[in-house]
């Protein structure tokens, strides 16, 4: 699984990363997490409100920090 966190290092992005790590750990799942902070790249996903979450090329969440439970659902569990 390929996961991208879109954001420019705001506090919400860090929180998203933390929640994501917790979700992956609890699911015993592995994924490559890449942080994207280049604005032109972020916008090219159609995202203007950060943080954005992209899983396998698909935008799953924008402008908010999903809870661990919601993240698990987005990860397909």
């Amino acid at each position: 699984m390929e996961i991208k966190i879109l954001g420019t290092g705001c506090s919400k992005c860090e929180k998203l990363e933390k929640n994501l790590e917790t979700a992956l750990k609890e699911l015993n799942a592995k994924a490559d997490i890449e942080k994207v902070d280049n604005l032109a790249v972020i916008v090219s996903y159609g995202v203007m409100s950060t943080p954005g979450l992209v899983i396998d090329g698909e935008v799953k969440s924008i402008g908010k920090v999903p809870k661990v439970k919601e993240l698990k659902k987005m990860l397909g569990y």
Partner: protein, 334 residues
Amino acid sequence: MNIFSWLNDQLLKMKWLWNLVELLVEKVFKLSMETRVGGSIHFFIYDTIKIFILLSVMIFIISFIQSYFPPERTKKIIGRFKGLKGNIFGALLGTVTPFCSCSSIPIFIGFVSAGLPLGATFSFLISSPMIDLASLMLLMSFFGTKVGTVYVAVGLVVAVIGGVLINRLRMEKYVESYVWGVENVDIEIEELTRKDRIEFAKSQVKEIVGRVWPYILIGVGIGAGIHNWVPQSIIEKVLGEGNPFSVLIATFIGIPIYADIFGTIPIAEALIAKGVGIGTVISFMMGVTTLSIPSLVMLSKVVKPKLLATFVAIVTLGIIIVGYGLNGLSFLLI
């Protein structure tokens, strides 16, 4: 007294809180309200509590409304309107879109790459920090319905005209070229449930209050200082209506400062109490909220210096005209 003015006094102006803090200062601290110390302590406590209450309630309501207009959707709405209508909708949507200055650049890139006219994008960028529903309610609470309405109305006019001018000047070539290379992607935005929106609104209250509280305390502190310690004569000399440069001075003091309307209100309140003209005060508030060094630094990443300078010049001029105009018409407002 009719029910409407009672509601206005108690709910918006929070007369009950004023009385409560007066009791606290006089009975608990044993300070007279007439003394400087007593007066400024009252100002500080009352204003701080009032602003935090208003702030939390307003951000909750507004975030709920805003959850219907994320920038990804705003982009599509503005894109439907051409010419002046695009500017008007840009300015109007700027008042309800979730906004912190950190998101202005992705929004700029997103709008421009979607082919929205540069002018409509700038109308949005001007109105976004300058006016929102929270500032309307706050201004109504502190200065009355007329001042609140007028602030929003002239703010929208500045945003629309500013955008139209930038369109007319054909500044497209002064946008950094990489912005044009970004592909326009529309994403499907999931429909939120009411519960999601309430969750979003709650998290916005937490986040925004957590971010702006120091600015509010500083603002209230400065306000309390002006209110009780700076002699009226000095304020009048610098910012009073007798000084023809008052609006210019207020605008240029306001521009470099970075704060939002919540931190600015207590200063404005103290200035008005000292007899500063309403136009001068509004210029100061617009200068603080709309232009600031941090926001210009960010904007400079996507536009070239010439467009940046044009933007600053147009907004500054607009704010100054508003100030002198409203000072001239102040007899209608207060």
